[in-house]
Amino acid sequence: MAILVDKKSKVIVQGITGTSGRFHTERMLKYGTKIVSGTSPGKGGQKVFDLPVYDTVEECVKNQNADTSVIFLPAKFVLEAAIEAIYAGIKLVVVVPEHIPIFDMLLIRKEAKKHGSTVIGGNTAGIITPGETNIGIMPDIAFSPGRVGTVSRSGSLTYYVADTLTRTGYGESTCVGLGGDPVLGSTFNEILSLFEEDEKTKAIVLVGEIGGVYEEKAKETIKKMKKPVIAMVGGVFAPQGKRMGHAGAIVEGEMGTARSKLKALEQGGAHIAKTFLDIPEILRKLRI
């Protein structure tokens, strides 16, 4: 098992005719991801890697029972693309582009909740269930199938964690990129709850960073969980009031410091890892 996606997921690429849409479609296909079609309004009827291109997501759903979408479009087109997918009945929308305007994400989130869809991102590296499907831009090389679930706001940290878990033989059930933008389609809480229900997942690694309050809020969920959560938070020494690469990575006032996040996570019962090497060590101690 896995969460959110597996080898049966029927994936469409929104923006498939663009440069990065095309590039990552090829990569994902190579991994074995079941991509069924793509969209590009005004380019319906074209083909990309033998996949049909449609004008609307509705057609992808009607013709091919698509249930998952990954968006490769400039940030300003994401609002439309994500809501189109949600309205068409897509159950998981993966928003790869970064710097989505906050107001747009608020509306996307609202519509997603209303229609029962899940959105991950913006600025997510995607989601991978190793050995089954890889949706987004995560590099295959770091990942191997296994028993740890990972959820992270950062792509690069995800790779280091995956690499660590692969080299120490744990592997991953599913790895979810929550995204680096300030307002996200999903929260740590929601992904943690999914892992808690997933049979294959024995423990969860949560990787947070400065900015926002999603980590702080995860405390409540972790408290109620049976599975152990190992948490790592970047930015303990981050400066105040300055964005660090990710749109969402900024300490504003007293909100969003790594220390407050670590404190909350620890209060919730998470095991804190300072470096990547701590992760397999904690897993060993927990006898996972």
Partner: protein
Amino acid sequence: MRLYEFEAKKILSEFGIPVPQGKVITSSEQAKRFAEDLKKPVVLKSQILSGGRGKAGGIKFAQTPDEAYSSAKELFSLKIKGFPVEKILLDERLEIEKEYYIGVTLDRLNYKIVVIASSEGGVEIEEIAKKHPEKIKKIGLDIDEKLFSFQAFGLAKMIGIESSDIRTVGNIILTLWKLYKRYDAKLVEINPLVLTKDKKIVACDARMSVDDDSLFRHPELEKMGVEKRHEEGEMTQREKKAKEWGIPYLDLDGEVGMFPGGAGFGIMGNDFINYFGGKPANFMDSGGGPTPERLAQMLVLLDENPKVKAIFGARFGGISRCDDFAKGVVIFLKEHGLSKPMVLRMTGNMWKQGLEIFEKAKKDNPELFKNIEIHGIGTPIEDIAKRAVELAKKAKK
């Protein structure tokens, strides 16, 4: 991204919210002249992008034009949080009867826009929240929900505004919400909103922060001279240069130059350096699959910085391939050279091929690599960080 007080007040004023008579000045002479024009006691407020301005001595009062002149002179010689005061907002001094707080902000967790009012103006809202949570009144709205006048009137009523003023204050609250929506703001607050002795309602101080990522739909902000900037503090020369090059970069206080891949690792790598006893000189993000040109720019930023004593490099080849990365770095070394010691780890996609490229280049020209240590997947990244701290300490001696 934060606006200066004078920019925020300009916007408020364009939306019809009363602000004090005021002017931005850049010299003490202007201060005197404008104080003469005003014919009133004035307040001189340093325009900086951070809180705590008052405690740092950044605000001064003056009764006469001459006092305004000397106060301005003092302020212009001041540094607040390391940055010189370059602009002062000179406002008429209000005679205050009562101070209120009103603001609109974002509740990221609940995905709501929150309209806030309090009877306790003049102090930070976080402080009010701690000391008098009961004195804060809120309305949470979805992004597609409307704030109605009656809700704004009700909020005004709840914080103890007199009946005769609730329309005035309510309309200011309503306008504040409209302005928040209009500008894709993250925060707009008037603190304090002042009831003057002569019974006028005036926005005495204002703070506004907008969503950097929505600037593409707000050309009017650019027209006002508002450019991308920090939430707090001014940009350094080097940060401005990096910005021109499109590289997310921050100057920090330490001596270890950071040459990482990825924003997340950039943040975490800085922590590692600290954990192991060092101090990073910067934050930087390469973006995915940097071109040789970008790699060169990143290294130039570090090489030119005299504070940087050693460089910590890390590359996880994901979408980008390590061989391409290695090629780019080699081109830079050949064309520019690197004057600082660097320890670099490269792993992920095609890491072996990348190492081979380095080995070959080193064999061809060992001199270029004399200060550079290159590691592969066999060495944990933590050890690389430790080594960078060591190198920096050695170089400092």
